[in-house]
């Protein structure tokens, strides 16, 4: 008897959960793509805070880090971790400038196809503009709160590096709310954005290194 009640209770909980997210119709997909493209075209800069959760299945807790991100059109990104450590990475053209608590280094991404693809992924996911890239198989989902797109790399070399990449878009604005990077081991990293401002002037010092 108790068992039956448990099953019923589980069904009651599970059915609405499953119903929350469903595949998008092609009209909905086109609408989302148009919304995100229009936003990307009018975005000259983004200032936002973020919280990153690294999930490893065997850990008791996700590893939580926090920081700030600045994007300047067309392709500059400053990614800064402030808590619990100081680490800045600046994506600028073909170069990656790193400041690890005062230890500075530069990586030339021109020499690595993989680095270039990762850079494209980061810049485009920040902008929300991953739709023009033909490197991924895309699947679209809709829930009452979010629009979600799952990107699976077509290139086998890339898929040994990343199994999939998910973006959650705010329904109203088309802005990226969350980025989820899924590893080939199925462990993942979630980055959730907050306190975002668009198209405000960028301090020139942000991209100095």
């Amino acid at each position: 008897m108790i068992k039956w009640w448990i099953v019923r209770l589980m069904l009651l909980v599970a059915v609405p959960l499953m119903a929350q997210e469903r595949p998008m119709s092609s009209a909905q997909q086109e609408e989302l793509i148009a919304q995100v493209k229009a936003l990307a075209e009018t975005t000259t800069s983004i200032h936002t805070k973020f919280t990153q959760y690294k999930h490893l299945d065997f850990l008791s807790n996700d590893i939580e880090t926090k920081g700030k991100m600045i994007f300047q059109s067309p392709d500059k990104v400053r990614w800064e971790y402030t808590d619990p450590y100081s680490y800045v990475v600046i994506f600028q053209g073909d170069r990656l400038h790193i400041d690890d608590a005062g230890k500075k280094s530069t990586i030339d991404m021109g020499s690595s196809e993989l680095f270039q693809q990762m850079n494209q992924l980061i810049v485009n996911s920040v902008k929300g503009n991953l739709f023009s890239a033909g490197d991924f198989n895309r699947t679209f989902f809709v829930s009452p709160e979010w629009n979600k797109v799952v990107f699976v790399p077509k290139d086998p070399k890339m898929s040994r590096y990343i199994a999939a990449f998910e973006l959650l878009f705010q329904k109203k604005t088309g802005m990226v709310h969350e980025v989820k990077l899924i590893e080939p081991t199925q462990d993942y990293t979630r980055i959730i954005f907050s306190e975002r401002t668009l198209n405000t002037p960028v301090d020139a010092a942000a991209f100095r290194h």
Partner: protein, 205 residues
């Protein structure tokens, strides 16, 4: 006479080259303890998370090192970039070594051998010492191995494990230093190789 002098010189040279700087002037004694504990990665309830800084032949790399004891005598060791991308994911279970994941760029036998050796030494908990060398500051417990020896340096005042040194019969090969220790948690760890230009500095997050 000359012959005897030459033989003495050769013998002296051989004996000196055989002796380790670490135990120079010290006498081996039977160990006073049966087992020796490395307590720093021994608690299954703790996620050990470190900011890592690597210096490899003049090149600098940063990342996050995660170590977790997942069962008795079983550890997972994962290294990720600051942005969360996993670079390698290893599992150590007694003598077994399993690679769950490694990016292609790091999948090199020589590097894997070094990483396996270093992280096995870092996480292995119990040793059976074969001898002890005493100094006024510390006890150096020697653990014999098939090719290499290990020395565990335990501080006399605090009774804390301060250092593990791996050697050949003649030379120190690498050392792991533990510092800023509280309640069996080493906040700062330095892994240094003497025959390779490789150092790894770890700071607990």
């Amino acid at each position: 006479m000359l012959q005897r002098f030459v033989i003495s010189c050769v013998l002296l040279g051989v004996l000196q080259s055989c002796s380790l700087a670490l135990t120079k002037g010290l006498t081996a004694q039977p160990p006073s303890i049966v087992t020796l504990q490395n307590p720093y990665f021994a608690d299954q309830a703790i996620d050990y998370v470190y900011k890592a800084q690597l210096q490899v032949y003049g090149n600098y790399f940063g990342g996050i090192l995660v170590i977790k004891k997942i069962a008795p005598q079983q550890h997972r060791v994962v290294f990720t970039t600051e942005m969360g991308k996993s670079l390698f994911d290893f599992e150590f279970r007694q003598e077994e070594f399993k690679i769950h994941y490694i990016i292609e760029e790091l999948d090199r036998k020589l590097l894997l051998n070094i990483l396996e050796n270093d992280f096995r030494l870092l996480t292995s908990e119990r040793q059976r010492p074969d001898a002890v060398y005493q100094t006024p500051e510390s006890n150096l417990y020697k653990v014999d191995g098939p090719k290499r020896w290990r020395f565990y340096e335990v501080d006399n005042n605090s009774a804390q494990l301060k250092r593990i040194v791996q050697t050949s019969a003649h030379k120190e090969k690498m050392a792991i230093e533990f510092s800023e220790i509280s309640e069996d948690h080493a906040k700062k760890i330095k892994i240094a190789h003497f025959n390779l230009k490789l150092t790894i500095d770890l700071y607990a997050l």
